[in-house]
Symmetry: C2
Subunit: 458 residues, 2 copies
């Protein structure tokens, strides 16, 4: 065994620069799934992922069609009798706006102080690609002990609208004993952690219409309901003075975390002073009665992701606008149901529309919350792999983000999901200057082969 480890290390050391160059090549493709003008980039990116899977040891790799952006599937079957690991990832990225806040081009990766700055570096190109290079390492050093399948999709950032259909239609192809995902973060390199859950998501867009045209705010101001003001009143009413969400039924299905889990969470290292300094805020905020980690882990939340209406250009324009808009999303926890909560949100906004305006609310996308048990073979293999390369047992934590496909994958494939993320919370996911630390990238490539070994042997 020690021999193999040395061989892995040696191989990875030799090919370090190429492993990085290949990741940068992926990052140069602006594969923004939300924007229709990037349709060709999406296809180009899928093609490159397929080629790299083949180059890295897959026996088979294909770009497979869906009703939206294509999925890339790949596999390396060493022995059908051996356990199979299905690696899920996504090659699509979030939009890069606001562009003016980036220090370098979002699709011109720059390496600075040991970090790769580019959209998608941590979410999720840099992370799923660790698995591709881990496969290469195991194949080239003759040490692959499990079968490996890859399901790399192109619509994660828009809520995976077509992946459920794809997975249902390809159950046999995707059959596996465990699903492994690196699309999340750990507390720090000094305090490795493994996510045991992700929050669900309900995302809606609200359109408020006042008068049938933009009006002069002098001629009409004071006599006609202003849709911006009305939208603000609706948004302001979503949280009470304790920052509890006021929408009727919102908390109905929430399973309260046990005292034991909250006790465990409280032991995870957290420095509020550093947290505030990192974010540049004087105060943290949130639901009364819960700590910062609880607010982002075990509690459902509601955020306005965007708002616009009226004149937003240079200078002053005295308009009373016809329309105002907001994008609003809720993060959900077990056992909230995304479909049900989306309906509750849509209904709520329609119901609270003030007199004088009309409200049109529609669904963007959603995803179910997901939890994974810590006594499974998969979790134990992940914990042991982390222990091996980090020298420390990982802390189990609940992640605040959402991977909408989790509940669908488990339902369709009957397989548990293991979250083994190597990112950090300050990777600027979904923000300008997204980055991924090279140390984390290489540590991931080093750690993943152990997961396969321990899972195959376990």
């Amino acid at each position: 065994m020690e021999h193999t480890h040395t061989a892995w290390t040696e191989y990875q050391k030799q090919h370090q620069q190429r492993f990085l160059d290949e990741m940068l090549e992926l990052l140069r493709i602006p594969s923004i799934s939300a924007k229709s003008e990037h349709k060709d980039d999406m296809r180009k990116c899928a093609g490159l992922v397929r080629q790299r899977l083949l180059d890295s040891g897959c026996d088979r790799a294909e770009v497979m069609e869906t009703a939206g952006h294509p999925v890339v599937y790949g596999e390396k079957i060493v022995d059908p009798g051996k356990p199979t690991v299905l690696v899920y990832g996504h090659y699509d990225v979030q939009p890069a706006d606001p562009l003016e806040l980036w220090h370098s081009g979002p699709f011109d990766p720059v390496i600075k102080e040991g970090k790769v700055f580019a959209r998608g570096s941590a979410d999720d190109k840099g992370q799923f690609y660790m698995h591709v290079k881990a496969l290469e390492t195991m194949v080239k050093t003759g040490s692959l002990e499990s079968n490996v399948k890859f399901l790399i999709e192109g619509e994660e950032e828009v809520g995976s609208p077509n992946l459920g259909t794809f997975v249902a239609a390809n159950k046999e192809l995707l059959k596996a004993d465990v699903i492994l995902i690196s699309d999340s973060s750990m507390i720090s390199m000094e305090t490795p952690s493994l996510d045991i859950g992700v929050r669900g998501l309900s995302y809606i867009q609200v359109e408020v219409t006042g008068p049938n045209r933009d009006l002069h705010s002098g001629t009409y101001g004071g006599a006609v309901a202003n849709p911006i003001t009305m939208l603000c009143k609706m948004i302001a009413s979503l949280h009470d003075e304790n920052n509890h969400i006021t929408i009727p039924g919102f908390y109905d299905d929430v399973v309260e975390a046990s005292a034991e889990e909250r006790e465990l969470m409280a032991r995870a290292p957290f420095n509020e002073k550093e947290y505030k300094e990192d974010l540049g805020v004087k105060e943290v905020w949130g639901e009364k009665g819960y700590t910062v980690n609880e607010r982002t882990g075990i509690r459902p939340t509601m955020e306005v992701n965007g708002i616009w209406g009226g004149y937003t250009g240079e200078g002053a324009k005295t308009v009373l606008p016809s329309k105002a808009y907001a994008k609003i999303s809720a993060r959900l926890v077990p056992n909230q149901n995304s479909r049900k909560l989306t309906d509750i949100l849509l209904e709520h906004f329609r119901k609270i529309a003030p007199a004088g305006v009309t409200v049109h609310a529609e669904e963007h996308h959603g995803g179910e919350p997901y939890m994974t048990p810590i006594d499974s073979k998969g979790y134990k293999a992940a914990a042991k792999a982390i222990q091996t390369t980090f020298g420390k047992e990982p802390i189990p934590v609940r992640g605040g983000g959402s991977i909408p496909i989790c509940s669908i994958l488990e339902r369709e494939l009957g397989t548990k999901i293991i979250f083994m993320g190597f990112g950090l919370d300050n990777d600027n996911l979904h923000s300008p200057n997204e980055k991924y630390n090279l140390e984390n990238y290489y540590k991931g490539i080093e750690t993943i082969p152990y997961f396969h070994r321990f899972f195959a042997q376990g």
Copy 2:
């Protein structure tokens, strides 16, 4: 006298098409004062106004520099001993956004159903140009009985930041017995009216900063104050349940309209059903205890003119943004002071900033409210002119809009202002598809010479 009238009518009829063509030429220049990229268009427009003043009978016309966009001055002095009318207008226009709502190009004037559709058609190019063509009519028919001066500025739509300095430095040049402005509307062609006042304006921009960068709403949502939500809470708090403005001190200096004035206002024709139908709203809105006309005439109001923050593009992005912004303006009535109210607004927003965010509020521009007496020689000349061409005595009304320069002009020149607007409330001022009815344009050109005659004789 009847001879002259016939001569005017005859002359105007003969030159009707050219009077229109010249207006359209002005409308083709995108003289948007708020946008720096239109600086050259502003200068081009000023040059054309100067040329037209000379062509139309002025002895002298000049483009005069200010610290911002230039002023156009022109004059026709028939006899220094005769009364002098100073015509004020502006050649700058509001921005044309949102462009997608225009049925034709904002700077490609189109004539449809007797209306000129173009930005600036009613506000104010089409209106000030009536005075230029009225001068031409009087000069060419040998019937000008007063001296005429023109002060056509280029910064009205951005709050006339440099006109005060200009007027103070040119008191002698601008000396007049009355100031005449056509930059407002009348009730209808069947119910002519004369504005006896305009509201003042205090316009501010608010910037709310939460975290120092855009964050992932999953990782941080629920634990960090969202600047959009906080901005909405602040905006929502500006009006109470009766739509009174809640800002301390806001109403302190308001002079309540007399019971007599409110009684007079109530007699002006107003059809709430038609008003709502025209605007496409189910309900009117506004301060409890006041009618629609009172809300837009005698009461101060507060409108959000624009709001933006976070992701506003296609699709969904799960961001908790760093910043959110709003443009907010108040309309003021006698004796509110714009400077004082702006300070009250700025201070209020800084004071109500919720914990977890910082608020930066700054001034855009302002203007004082203004009232003109109905027993003056100027008002009487205007009323008689309207009576002559409309066959009906005009109703005195308070306009809801603002002409920030009024109080400055009166202070510097010691002269009262007469508002003789020929627009209509549905001209879509500051909105897409701004229009000016040709009937109103020609009626204005027909009426204005009577004002000069009655004022000179009065």
